[in-house]
């Protein structure tokens, strides 16, 4: 709870926050809020839970059945010890605290976990993390920054290509990969190429519009 007083405006807090962009994320904000709520309401039980939350058993180096794994994510090297069952998605979210990749179905059916391995999009929920050592992994966190968005991120914002936002990082990772795939110019082709990403809010029309806007801009920029 030592960082309770930190705010995004505090430059010192940013420098030590450990998050990719040095900002309070929705996740850290919500977890802090939850912690405050527990402490405020529950007394001794709250503090017990609070203490437990500082111990991440998965991080313990001498835990049984873990293997050392080195991953390259967004240009950075990470050394972790993980259970071999850990999927790339879980490793990113729970061990590296890169929570931009989302867990939807966890069975390769929804696309929320989509990220790039060596520039190609995959479902990270079906990847065993220990099998991707030496590969270049790119997540939504590596695509652009809030101050410097990737054109696809910008297009999703300007086309309102989401509602709840849960599928959005997967949609964007798929859409960026699509730019380098043999996808025809028609909307129908984009729909087919985006069919591995489900949006339960049904923002499909705007997603297709966002993808097409980036493709049109990109194709104009390319010499004929």
């Amino acid at each position: 709870m030592s960082d309770q007083g930190k705010t995004p405006e505090d430059p010192k807090a940013e420098a030590h926050s450990g998050s990719e962009f040095g900002r309070t994320t929705r996740r850290t904000f919500l977890s802090r809020l939850g912690m405050v709520g527990l402490l405020a309401s529950a007394g001794p039980i709250g503090s017990t839970l609070g203490e437990q939350s500082h111990t991440d058993p998965a991080q313990s180096p001498d835990l049984e059945n873990t293997v050392p794994v080195t991953l390259r994510v967004n240009g950075k090297k990470y050394d972790v010890r993980i259970d071999p069952r850990t999927t790339l998605l879980d490793c990113l979210r729970e061990h590296l605290h890169l929570t931009g990749s989302k867990k939807g179905c966890d069975h390769g059916q929804c696309g929320a976990c989509t990220l790039h391995i060596n520039g190609r999009r995959v479902n990270s929920c079906l990847c065993l993390a220990a099998m991707y050592q030496g590969d270049e992994i790119t997540t939504i966190e590596g695509l652009g920054h809030p101050e410097n968005l990737h054109p696809m991120q910008e297009a999703f914002v300007s086309h309102d290509a989401y509602q709840c936002g849960y599928c959005t990082s997967g949609q964007i990772m798929s859409a960026v990969a699509l730019l380098n795939e043999p996808c025809g110019p028609e909307e129908a082709e984009v729909k087919e190429f985006m069919s591995g990403n489900i949006c339960r809010c049904g923002a499909y029309q705007n997603i297709v519009a966002a993808v097409q806007s980036v493709r049109q801009t990109t194709s104009k920029e390319k010499p004929a």
Partner: protein, 334 residues
């Protein structure tokens, strides 16, 4: 997911030696090779597959697509579905294979899934996927819940009283029509199996799905040179337009010369317990004119032995129309 040991094979000998220690052949075995993992990891999460050891074969040198001296094609075991589908020679000479691959799964899954993995893809039967239910394929002798249960999507050809699970692969159907050969390296050396003999009918051993023995490693698949003047096509019918398994599909490779069909290869998907080659349909087509009446006769022949279950009787007619329409499209002059 049950705990397993993860090992990486740096050469085929390591993989074969590791796999040979398994008590059964690859599918459902306690030691499994893993490449793309799209099917295996899914089933491990459901505890349908509970291997004690996984051998990562992604680093074996089986990632090439090469034209053979005879004009055929060699496809490495770990070639990704997307790379195979978009390969210029596959698109030109084996359109049916490219179309079948692109009709399966999603772009992300196709970037992961491999040739050998797709050959071994396991059924989507919901009782196979659910460990709380009886299933002779998953647990020999436990019974088949599908026969008296929800069986709308399941097989009508090649079934037995023990199992009616359909083979889910699109690629396999195209490979069957293209008369592919599976090349295997194992403890006794190398051998090859025509795709028609590779998958087994369920009979009273539905847990045995292929001829693979412990340690057998698929190294590559070969396709014969394209038949001169032939055209090929894959037509897939399903509940939604994309990212869905076939209710019925047809892979057709047809040569028309002088107004007559001189050669025909036909395979059906979504309806068989294995990729369903139909010599009956081929016999009805060969030597005949390319007319709707002939196509319907061929389709009727292909489905003659169909045994529909309580909910999938519609598949008989659907598969017939699917095949007849595929034949019409592939013989249309541009």
């Amino acid at each position: 997911m049950k705990l397993f040991e993860l090992a990486r094979a740096d050469d085929s000998g390591q993989a074969i030696a590791a796999g040979a220690k398994a008590t059964t052949a690859q599918q459902g075995a306690d030691i499994r090779f893993i490449a793309g993992g799209t099917n295996l990891v899914d089933y491990m999460k459901l505890n349908v597959e509970t291997p004690k050891k996984l051998v990562d074969i992604n680093h074996l040198p089986y990632d090439k697509i090469e034209v053979l001296p005879d004009g055929g094609l060699s496809i490495g075991a770990v070639v990704r579905n997307s790379d195979l589908a978009y390969h210029p020679i596959v698109r030109k000479n084996y359109a049916v294979l490219s179309e079948a691959l692109l009709s399966g799964a999603s772009p992300q899954l196709r970037n992961m899934a491999t040739t050998a993995g797709n050959l071994l893809q396991r059924t989507r039967c919901m009782y196979f996927r659910d460990t709380a239910m009886p299933c002779n394929k998953r647990e020999p002798g436990s019974g088949c819940a599908a026969i008296t249960g929800v069986n709308r999507s399941l097989a009508i050809l090649g079934t037995s009283e023990h199992c009616i699970a359909s083979n889910p692969s699109d690629m396999n159907v195209a490979m069957a029509a293209l008369e592919a050969t599976i090349h295997i390296r194992g403890t006794k050396g190398e051998h090859s199996v025509p795709i028609g003999d590779f998958h087994l009918l369920p009979g009273n051993t539905p847990h045995r799905e292929t001829v693979l023995e412990p340690g057998d490693l698929i190294t590559h698949v070969t396709l014969p040179p394209p038949a001169p003047g032939s055209r090929s096509l894959y037509l897939k019918l399903r509940d939604r337009a994309s990212f869905e398994f076939a209710l019925a599909s047809a892979a057709v490779v047809v040569t028309v010369a002088g107004g007559k069909i001189t050669r025909a290869r036909v395979a059906l998907g979504g309806v068989g317990t294995k990729p369903w080659r139909s010599p009956e349909a081929e016999a009805e087509l060969t030597g005949q004119s390319a007319t709707p009446a002939v196509f319907q006769k061929a389709a009727a022949a292909a489905l003659r032995d169909a045994k529909p279950q309580s909910q999938n009787g519609f598949k008989v007619e659907l598969a017939k129309r699917c095949l007849a329409h595929a034949l019409k499209l592939v013989t249309q002059t541009a």
